[in-house]
């Protein structure tokens, strides 16, 4: 076996590995879309999530027509509270959102209620209400523009955004 043959073998192996990888990624994606990331109709995945800092997710998700916080949402908000305690000069806005399957005006109110549910929880963990403003966008700013149960679950959210 000369050097050229060795190179070809290496490249082939690499290609096979790439294919295996790609298959794994694809299957991971398809399980996500098969509502593996929904608990009831609350989104539990990470696809749209951004981070305020390492390990501090910026958003929590809600069930249809609901503004109550799930166990997972509370855990996320506690991480946010810890982060905000460490960064005393940081203020945030919590944006409340609804999915597109409701009337516009009710959704504006619902988004406001969701954002305040998150704000109230942060306040019980010692973050001053003065540091947290809220704004509702109702159904006006979907993060996922699709018309599917998964997209709607990703859009029913409150997002904590740094303002300074």
């Amino acid at each position: 076996m000369n050097l050229g043959d060795k190179m070809t073998l290496k490249t082939n192996l690499k290609n096979i590995l790439l294919v295996v990888f790609a298959t794994l990624i694809l299957s991971a994606c398809s399980t996500a879309k098969k509502s593996g990331d929904l608990e009831g109709d609350v989104y539990t995945g990470k696809e749209t999530v951004e981070y305020l800092a390492a390990g501090v997710p910026d958003r929590v998700f809600f069930a249809t027509n609901k503004s109550s916080l799930t166990t997972a949402s509370r855990a996320t908000l506690r991480k946010q509270a810890t982060f905000l305690r460490k960064n005393k000069n940081l203020n945030v806005t919590i944006e409340g959102h609804a999915d597109e399957r409701g009337t516009r005006e009710y959704n504006l109110a619902l988004g406001e209620r969701r954002a305040n549910a998150a704000r109230d929880y942060l306040m019980t963990y010692g973050i001053s209400g003065k540091r947290i403003s809220v704004i509702s966008y109702g159904k006006e700013k979907p993060v996922n523009p699709a018309s599917s149960p998964l997209a709607w679950s990703q859009n029913r959210r409150s997002v904590t955004v740094k303002v300074n």
Binding site: E105, Y106, L108, E112, D120, N144, P145, A146
Partner: protein, 445 residues
């Protein structure tokens, strides 16, 4: 922009004749539309040039608008012009009734116009072909650039004569013009004639604007804007373009509407996770709290006599429609059907409330009596909401959105109208995607 146009009525030859035979029954659907011939208006050859107006086509163009208006009601069947049997000027003097009856017309509209000294003079007549007599005649003078409005006013007069109800053609619709991808929508306030012409944009699209609604005289609009990222209720004077915030409370104000006398704005105010209904007197700026409940209370709409308010609340757990006295007392839930209900809007006649109903993933526009009985669903679709009444209480305009694909493709929002009979569903033509329509009152009254 919406300059108040003064029409000088200088001849009224209205022949009120008890023996007139034709009458359109509008309590039923469009099962048997009335065949009507709209003759092109005769253009007086003495007419002078006016700006870039195609004066010689004006008679035909006005007739075309009248025809489109009538067709749009579903109550009339305008006949094809190539079958017309008399020249416009001759027919206008006195039609040969038997000849027009041959083409199966039951009513005929004729007219003539003259442009002189920068003024447009129009007269028209409505003929009952079966009874062989004139039913209505009217003439007026206005500025020639108002020629589309002339056509709408003629349409209203004829509609009123034939149906016994007020027309709704000389009206405008204010709405939110939408463009751009679904997750980055640009929204502007837009206003147009009810037939989709003369579209004008009232905001630039720099901030999100929602839910514009006319005041009773259709000179002012209240709407919600995210100007400076503060979602608040605003007031806009269409004529002057002046905008001011009216709901500058420490929180979000939204879902505004005028009281029937135009003196107050009723709206929701959301703070600390709770939305309640408030009114603000536009003159005194006195604010009154109308509801005080831990639930969401929104989408308020006054009854036309100002004594009651219909609104949307989830105090029972899910969205339902409630009615209360205008001081907030005597709250009664009126919806008990399957599904959930939103966007109650009191009809201008006072007898019905239009609403959006959501049930098993479908959206319905419907009407019910003001006590919640007699629910009738007029149209079902993937997504539609926000009905607004035509000023005569006969037609609803609303918006409808389509289902989007995985990247948001295929999404659109359009305005639609439907008669309260459930017949005659139509898409309104708009220059862009559109939502949140509000129908004006009759502009000439």
């Amino acid at each position: 922009m919406l300059k108040k146009i003064i029409f000088y009525l200088f001849i009224i030859l209205s022949t009120t004749n008890a023996n007139a035979l034709i009458e359109v029954d509008i309590t039923r659907g469009n099962l048997d539309p009335l065949p009507i011939a709209v003759s092109p208006l005769h253009v007086d050859p003495k007419s002078e040039k006016y700006k870039d107006l195609e004066v010689k086509d004006l008679g035909g163009n006005i007739a075309q608008i009248i025809e489109n208006n009538f067709k749009g009601t579903g109550l009339f069947n305008p006949l094809k012009k190539d079958a017309f049997v008399q020249k416009p000027d001759i027919a206008h003097l006195k039609p040969r009734f038997e000849d027009w009856r041959l083409i199966k017309a039951q009513a005929l509209i004729t007219g003539k116009l003259l442009i002189k000294d920068g003024k447009l003079k129009v007269e028209f007549r409505l003929w009952d072909l079966t009874a062989a007599q004139e039913m209505t005649a009217l003439a007026f003078t206005t500025t020639p650039s108002n020629w589309r409005r002339v056509a709408h006013i003629i349409s209203d007069k004829i509609y009123e004569r034939l149906t016994g109800e007020n027309g709704y053609f000389d009206t405008r619709i204010i709405y939110v013009a939408e463009s751009g991808p679904k997750n980055q929508r640009i929204k502007k306030l837009a206003i147009m004639d009810q037939d989709g012409f003369n579209t004008k944009y009232l905001t630039l699209g720099n901030e999100l604007v929602l839910t514009p609604r006319f005041n009773p005289t259709s000179q002012m609009v209240t709407y919600m804007s995210y100007f400076r990222n503060m979602p608040r209720v605003y007031l806009l004077d269409i004529e002057t373009g002046t905008q001011e915030v009216v709901g500058n409370f420490p929180g979000m104000t939204f879902a505004p509407r005028f009281s029937p006398d135009g003196k107050k704005i009723i709206m929701s105010f959301a703070k600390d996770g709770n939305s309640d209904i408030y009114t603000m007197d536009l003159e005194t700026r006195v604010v009154e709290r109308i509801t005080d409940h831990s639930s969401i209370d929104t989408s308020p709409s006054f009854s036309p006599d100002g004594k009651f308010i219909a609104f949307n609340s989830d105090r029972s757990g899910l969205q339902q429609i409630y009615v209360m006295r205008s001081d907030g007392s005597n709250v009664k839930r009126i919806t008990f059907g399957k599904g959930i209900y939103g966007t109650p809007v009191w009809s201008p006649r006072g007898d019905l409330i239009a609403f959006t109903k959501m049930h098993k993933g479908r959206f319905y526009i419907g009407v019910m009596r003001v006590d919640g009985t007699g629910e009738r669903l007029l149209t079902e679709n993937y997504y539609q909401e926000a009905p607004s009444w035509s000023p005569n209480g006969r037609v609803l305009v609303f918006y409808r959105e389509t289902k989007a694909g995985s990247k948001g493709e295929g999404f659109s929002a359009k305005l639609w109208s439907i008669d309260i009979t459930g017949y005659n569903e139509r898409r309104l033509s708009t220059k862009t995607d559109a939502s949140d329509p509000s129908w004006s009152s009759l502009l000439s009254k």
